[in-house]
């Protein structure tokens, strides 16, 4: 059809007889029409139109949030909601947002990852909702996990954080943490011990993990013991678990070169290089896992809706404990923030709140996408009702206080995106065997420390 059409238009333009000349000119007129259609779509006059966006990682999540949007549209008076899925992780979600803010076409309320809050806040792209929050009696900073709220109430001018810092950059959408998604078919076939039982007995350590990975890897050249994506989350875990980390305690300098960090990195390197149990670093392991070829797949709660479509027996288990005695897990979070240029800040704030009520979070949790960001037993209970996976507790163990998770966070004293751009490629060099851990250790902080404002 299209081809015929295009040939016709070629012809229209090309033959140029008087008869066809008119159609050539005509498209100018045809451009007008459907504006009309756009107008009829516009909301009724009394309603304020609010657009909002979160980053979905798969179609299942899009469905969850579309449902939420429809529900809230009915509940909130005077507001008409439009949910836009936005790009996925691979499609530069944050960068697109910035381009749209610059162009004035960004949504009123949008979700950004915790790491980017400082960048957006210091550029003046998101609204400081402190006044709106102060006027809202229902809102309390203490209702949410402290890790995210520290950064969301951080005032870069005073350096203060907390309820009275004079800054509220947003409300956390949810929290998440890593677990290992298990392909029990492979683990059983390899005769490897059940990681869930090991975890229950407190024997789930790096050695036990390596044992399971090696046993499953031995099943065949296309079967892998372990798989993780190539971004800061997965590799950061190994650094944390051996007592290291990306930054110093006050997040003002690079700590990638401490002996603990390097030891963690070296163990992860050995998974790729020495023991060869992992899917190639840099290639997405999720399709491979879903195809039934990876025994242990490290990912966050957000992967659950997608994994539920697989046709093998699966479950989750918490990350293995490292030398530091903890699994070094992250407390991932992202927040709904308000566009600094929104025309309706009050309504936007109302929406941000509505999106994070215990009720909404319960709904999202029940749909399986993520863990509520409110610290409440009720929310956690509704999270636990969603199975499979049977072992939902693995996620809660990851964020439990005694697991001491490291909260994801932006760099107020520097630029997280730039830090990431220095760190990511360098670590990739180590994990793919191009550079040694020693060489990495001697040079990395020289480069990475430049992103901190002195």
């Amino acid at each position: 059809m299209i081809s015929v059409l295009v040939i016709a238009s070629f012809a229209l333009a090309a033959c140029g007889s008087p008869a066809t000349e008119a159609p050539v000119e005509a498209p100018a007129a045809t451009e007008v029409p459907a504006t009309e259609a756009a107008m009829t779509e516009a909301p009724a006059m009394e309603d304020v139109a609010i657009r909002w966006r979160t980053r979905p990682d798969n179609q299942e999540e899009i469905d969850v949030y579309s449902q939420i949007s429809t529900d809230l549209d009915g509940e909130l008076d005077g507001i008409t909601l439009t949910y836009e899925p936005g790009g996925s992780e691979g499609a530069n979600y944050q960068d697109q947002l910035k381009a749209e803010i610059a162009a004035g076409t960004a949504p009123d309320v949008f979700w950004i990852p915790g790491t980017d809050v400082a960048d957006f806040a210091t550029r003046g792209l998101i609204l400081n909702a402190a006044d709106l929050a102060a006027a809202t009696p229902d809102f309390s900073v203490d209702d949410f996990y402290a890790g995210p709220m520290f950064h969301l109430t951080y005032n870069p001018e005073t350096g203060a954080a907390g309820a009275d810092s004079g800054a509220v950059w947003g409300i956390p959408r949810d929290v998440s943490t890593f677990a290992l998604y298990l392909n029990m078919d492979l683990i059983n076939e390899a005769g490897a011990p059940d990681p869930r039982e090991l975890a229950a007995n407190g024997e789930w350590t790096w050695d036990a993990f390596l044992d399971v990975a090696q046993k499953t890897r031995a099943l065949g050249s296309d079967i892998y013991g372990y798989g993780a994506s190539a971004w800061w989350g997965p590799y950061g875990v190994w650094l944390n678990a051996s007592g290291g980390g990306f930054f110093t305690e006050d997040r003002s300098a690079c700590a990638l070169n401490t002996p603990e960090s390097l030891a963690g990195l070296d163990f992860q390197r050995s998974l790729y290089q020495d023991y060869d149990v992992a899917t190639p670093y840099g290639e997405d392991p999720e399709p491979t896992f879903r195809a039934g070829k990876v025994a242990m797949f490290q990912n966050g709660r957000w992967a659950t809706p997608g994994v539920r479509t697989v046709d093998f027996e699966w479950d989750v288990v918490q990350l293995p404990d490292g030398p530091s005695g903890t699994a070094g897990n992250w407390l991932f979070w992202g927040a709904y923030v308000i566009n600094a240029n929104t025309e309706h800040p009050e309504e936007a704030w109302a929406l941000a709140q509505a999106l994070t009520t215990a009720q909404t979070q319960g709904k999202i949790a029940a749909l399986g996408a993520n863990i509520p960001s409110r610290v409440s037993q009720e929310a956690l209970d509704s999270f636990l009702t969603f199975t499979p996976p049977a072992n939902n507790q693995a996620f809660l163990n990851g964020i439990a206080a005694d697991a001491n998770p490291t909260a994801e966070g932006p760099l107020w004293a520097g630029s997280w995106p730039e830090f990431d751009k220095v760190m990511g490629p360098a670590i990739q060099g180590v994990l793919t065997g191009a550079t040694t851990v020693d060489d990495f250790g001697t040079t990395i902080c020289d480069e990475a420390n430049k992103v901190f404002t002195q």
Binding site: P85, A99, A103, E286, K293
Partner: protein, 406 residues
């Protein structure tokens, strides 16, 4: 003798020629073929190793006593291959051996074996300095304490006609029974879920308007450069020529800000209007018109025809190949452009996505279903291919002519 060897050489020459040509043709075709066949597969089939070209469907069978249809596999029964249904998987099997003779192994289901001395007080034995648990294994009616050497899982395969006939073997390494067959519904899914239909018509609309607009402006501009003498013409022409080499990415930042200024971000207009004025197209048209004999035009002028009449009634009908050249290039450029839509069109506004953008979104959302991604790619790639096959002569020859002239 000599003639024979000459003939042989000629034959060899031809053979090598066709061999080389066919080899390269296969290299060129292969990715397209892969794209098409994969787009009809089911996800599991795309992750198979070794890879297979044609899409297949796993066969199932309905067996009495089971609610769901069971997948069929090939199994080896007494030396003959038979099609059995997989009734149950993940059955744990252990390999047991006496602690003093580890080579005398027997295989038992884990459920059939009890811990020696009971679950609460299981007996242990030391093997190679390590304590190992003992199990009571029955061999030929005799209970022998053995240790678990290794364990694995098997599936229970049953004869669909006679469910009593059972075979146990590894499921993962068994060959499923499959039939050739595609899944055109992949295309339906991509189009419905990922907005490909809208992206397709948007791309068509944008491309048509850009091609038409660009033809109009470059024809009249090229005519002015080629045929009309006016002061400043040559200066402007040199200026045009000088900008042909400037790559588009030079403009991406200022053009973005210009679009912000006039409010065209996130609008299809931004994909159309700036692209209908090009120096290159005008240059091509000018090169073409300049070869046209002047006499005809002068005669028409004497007859009182206006310049516009000359252009539309004499020059344009005689320039179909040149216009087709220009239209070809513009069409491909407009259809395939990516970086500008990426910058200017809002990722959340799927109504205004063009195919390349939709593909970029799709690759993130459907990263675990290559069949869907490649179905999307096929939707983007096939329309230009159809146009190409229909107008093959135009395409190839217009490219050739552009090289000769350039």
């Amino acid at each position: 003798m000599k003639i024979q060897s000459y003939r042989f050489l000629q034959f060899l020459n031809k053979f090598i020629t066709y061999f080389v040509l066919t080899f390269f043709a296969l290299v060129m075709i292969f990715p397209f073929a892969y794209m098409l066949t994969t787009s009809f597969k089911i996800p599991a089939d795309t992750f198979r190793y070794p890879p297979r070209m044609l899409p297949r469907n796993p066969e199932t069978v309905v067996v009495d006593g089971y609610d769901e249809p069971l997948p069929l596999y090939f199994v080896d029964v007494d030396g003959t291959q038979k099609e059995y249904a997989l009734a149950k998987s993940n059955i744990k099997v252990g390999t047991y051996a006496p602690a003093d003779n580890l080579t005398a192994t027997v295989e038992r289901y884990l459920t059939e074996v009890k811990p020696t001395g009971g679950a609460t007080n299981q007996q242990k034995v030391t093997v190679n300095g390590e304590e190992v648990k003992l199990f009571d294994v029955e061999v030929d009616g005799q209970v022998i304490p053995m240790i678990l050497v290794s364990q694995t899982t098997v599936g229970e395969f049953i004869d669909p006609k006679n469910p009593e006939n059972k075979i146990f073997q590894n499921v993962r390494l068994s060959t499923p029974v499959e039939t050739l067959g595609g899944h055109p519904e992949n295309y339906v899914e991509v189009i419905e879920l990922n907005n490909m239909a809208r992206a397709l018509t948007n791309t068509a609309l944008v491309t048509i308007l850009v091609v038409l607009g660009q033809l109009v402006t470059s024809v009249v501009g090229g005519y002015a450069f080629a045929r009309l003498k006016f002061p400043g013409r040559d200066t402007v022409f040199v200026f045009y020529l000088g900008t042909i080499m400037i790559p588009f990415v030079m403009l991406i930042v200022p053009l973005y800000q210009l679009m912000v200024l006039i409010g065209w971000t996130d609008r299809l207009a931004a994909l159309i209007i700036p692209w209908i004025f090009t120096a290159y197209g005008t240059f091509l048209m000018r090169q073409h018109f300049i070869t046209f004999p002047k006499e005809i035009e002068e005669a028409a002028l004497l007859d009182g025809a206006s310049r516009l009449q000359i252009l539309t009634q004499i020059l344009i009908p005689a320039s179909v190949p040149a216009l087709a050249t220009q239209a070809t290039f513009t069409f491909l450029y407009a259809w395939n452009s990516f970086i500008w839509p990426l910058v200017i069109i809002n990722v959340g506004n799927e109504k205004n996505h063009v195919l390349t953008l939709a593909l970029n979104v799709l690759r993130g959302r459907a990263s675990d279903t290559p069949n869907l991604i490649l179905a999307g790619a096929a939707i983007a790639i096939i329309p230009p291919l159809i146009v190409f096959i229909l107008g093959q002569r135009f395409f190839v020859e217009s490219v050739a002519s552009s090289g000769v002239k350039g």
